[in-house]
Point group: C2
Chain length 468, copies 2
């Protein structure tokens, strides 16, 4: 944990005059609570500011812009890339108090929300009208829509429904000088809406978010398939994909992850299984039956397999809890968990699985693999202890190799978690010199003075260059 | 028609050394053929260059960059915004000779094509594998995929399927300095792919385009509904939309447009009709029956209505020809047709219709209205003669009012045709000062020396500022 060095009393007074004394946290105890996300990276902000209105956000950013103080917008801090970790001497701008639904029009399949609303809260609200907001990151009980849009969050249902970017129709944005502006999916000119989604707080602060909803599917079939090995599981996925069979959810856990989460929840264990697939098919009755029968038929051809079908809504929920508990369960295995979410074309999955096994052996590391295998998006977790410098070095070498292998397979270094700080050094490997030059220019176009979350996505040396 | 003043012999030789003498057109006759698009704007390029490979495109752009000569990329020149009209002294870069399919993988629902392939050619190719490439601009028999991507083209089927931006998965791009780079829907960092789609040749030249395909629907129902008035037609559309009934295609023609295209094709006329709706529902048998019965049921509640159902594939094609012949038919009504494609929220359609009638009376103009009413996207055609200066002045005043009314209704000045030259002066009204400032910066990020299609989208004074 790095402590902020300076705290400008005049800045604090200026911000308090905008949001009131209860809207600024200045004590170290309070600031520590806003110093981290779900990575191992942390840095204590100079102040935490908690606005309640768009106008307050605008004035906060304007004050910081004029004072040359960086602003780091923040949702619930559940990200896996360090995007919401405040740099030293920056202001953490928490949107948690802006958590209202601004408008909800079930007939139009649309809603407009403030950024601080929790994903699961919105899910419950729209479900009452038989509607669904598809993006479902595993942290949905705590993560916020503002953070989801900033990170372009995915989730298990992205396989069928796509990710956050496919559902954002409108944004009200506070720009780097405090200006309030709007952009919608219908806006003319360059598509700035798409650039803002996934921009990790580096291009603007979202103060209102328009979202598209879909009808809640009427029917479901949810089950676990326990297979012989991770490679067998990935071969099953390749076969499904090549035959055009796409469930709503198709998730994998390797042997050690499965064992870990079963023990964490006190569930019966499946010691014989080398991997587990979590499958959900949703839609209309007939469609659900046809698709899930085909999936089960594919798995039945595998050497070893056992099924666990959810028969009731409670059993379905219990399988979802199993899937969503993976991250907290793994957190108990080792003091430090480095979650690398690589993504490869589905046909390369078996090859990636073999490569990950090889890396674990070569670097003498414990690796836990799970994730959205149906999308080719895997979460490869390198277990370590930050205090063990020698092991951390091996972890870093292993991560470097993993990214190189992924890119060589035509994959991407981040399926859904974003770049933030933790992958910024790898981004140039993926997008090249031209991509980095253009992205630096895009950052400059939105935020010429580098006020908004500087140093995230674009590595610091390129950000520095942006001042010229 | 404005003639290019200078032609640099050294530049011509340099370009001929890249693409060969047959790849450069220098005669006035040849250059005239590349001086216009489907607007009334035209300007003769200094030279026309016709590369055959990515490497040639790269070298052409590099030569022009170094010589300070602007490059205007060009597909088939069917655009409605002047985007492909070359400025004086610029090079027209025609991609027409790069018209191959690079890869086609029916099992993956993917293909990669060169930019010069004609839309209808691709449609036929993928239909053989029972697949569909949804975007279908009415010019599809001649327009190219490169142009479609550059303009973010829509078409009647956009109502159900979305527009070009929803189908581009990958682009190989030649940047403003001749650098070749790639971007895909999976690329990490800022979403540069979405910015490139609809960028009208101002940010890069596309040399390979990856596209997503969908399964060809198994069943269809296609018909015309002749209703009492344009307002009644728009009320029917509002009712369908509020009940969540979305066909694949829902197009409108006002009374004069209908009469005009019926006469053009020598079809029986419907003199009693005040407006016509063209409807197609596609999907699986049951779904098509349910949806089209609901639509017919809604229309039957209208005061006056007559139906014409296509019973055979030939009759279906004949109704499509009726719809796609609107633009050529209207071209005979007056020497000059100004096609303004405004778009409003569907609930505001009846109001827009009344406003357009009022504008026609106030400005004493003939206005023909048709278009993608199901999307709220209307093509309002102001008929005139460019040689009649007094009338053209009234047309311009009318267009100004139309855009003001559209924006006041929460609409956009371009549903699908783009900004180009013809709407560049209206763009700031829609996106505001901040939007324009950011878009100018985005242009600068991709094309710092303003080599690629300068002055399009961003009005010239802002482009000039981009040199600093």
């Amino acid at each position: 944990v790095r402590e902020a060095k300076k705290m400008n009393p005049a800045l604090r007074r200026a911000l308090e005059s905008v949001v009131g004394p209860s809207g600024v946290f200045a004590s170290l105890e309070d600031r520590l609570c806003y110093s981290f996300d779900a990575t191992t990276i942390s840095s204590v902000p100079a102040l935490v500011v908690l606005p309640r209105t768009t106008e307050q956000v605008s004035r906060v950013v304007s004050v910081c812009h004029d004072e040359g103080v960086a602003v780091v917008p923040r949702g619930a801090g559940t990200g896996f890339a360090g995007s919401a970790v405040p740099w030293q001497d920056s202001i953490a701008l928490s949107l948690e108090r802006m958590n209202r639904v601004i408008a909800f029009s079930p007939a139009d399949l649309r809603c407009i929300v403030q950024p601080g609303i929790v994903n699961a809260h919105l899910q419950k609200l729209v479900a009452k009208e038989r509607l669904l907001y598809p993006p479902d990151p595993s942290s949905l009980e705590v993560c916020t829509l503002g953070g989801n849009v900033a990170q372009g969050a995915g989730g298990p249902r992205a396989l069928k429904y796509g990710s956050t970017k496919d559902y954002v129709t409108y944004l009200e944005v506070v720009g780097s000088r405090g200006e309030v502006w709007e952009v919608s999916e219908r806006s003319s000119g360059y598509d700035l809406l798409s650039v803002l989604v996934g921009s990790e707080g580096t291009l603007g602060v979202f103060t209102a978010i328009g979202l598209r909803l879909v009808p809640l599917p009427g029917s479901w079939r949810t089950f676990m398939a326990y297979l012989g090995s991770l490679e067998e599981a990935s071969q099953a996925v390749v076969e499904l994909s090549s035959r055009g069979i796409i469930p709503t959810v198709l998730e994998v856990m390797d042997k050690v992850t499965l064992r870990c989460v079963e023990e964490y929840l006190g569930r019966p264990t499946h010691d014989e299984a080398g991997a587990a697939l979590f499958v959900e098919v949703t839609g209309e009755d007939e469609e659900v039956k046809v698709v899930s029968d085909r999936i089960v038929g594919t798995f039945e051809k595998m050497r070893s397999r056992r099924f666990e079908f959810a028969q009731t809504e409670e059993e379905r929920e219990s399988l979802w809890v199993l899937r969503r508990s993976v991250s907290p369960a793994l957190a108990r295995v080792a003091p430090t968990k480095i979650n690398e979410d690589v993504c490869v074309p589905r046909s390369r999955l078996p090859e990636l699985m073999r490569a990950v096994e090889g890396l674990a052996q070569k670097h003498r590391l414990r690796i836990y693999t799970f994730g959205h295998i149906g999308d080719g998006n895997l979460h490869v977790n390198l277990m370590t202890d930050v205090r063990d410098r020698e092991e951390v070095k091996r972890v870093e070498e292993c991560a470097d190799s993993l990214f190189e292998i992924t890119l060589a397979m035509g994959g991407t270094i981040s399926g859904e978690h974003g770049i933030g700080i933790s992958k910024a050094k790898y981004l140039p490997l993926e997008v090249g010199t031209t991509g980095m030059r253009i992205m630096s220019g895009v950052k400059r176009a939105f935020d010429p003075e580098a006020v908004l979350n500087p140093g995230k996505i674009i590595p610091p040396d390129l950000t520095a260059a942006s001042k010229f």
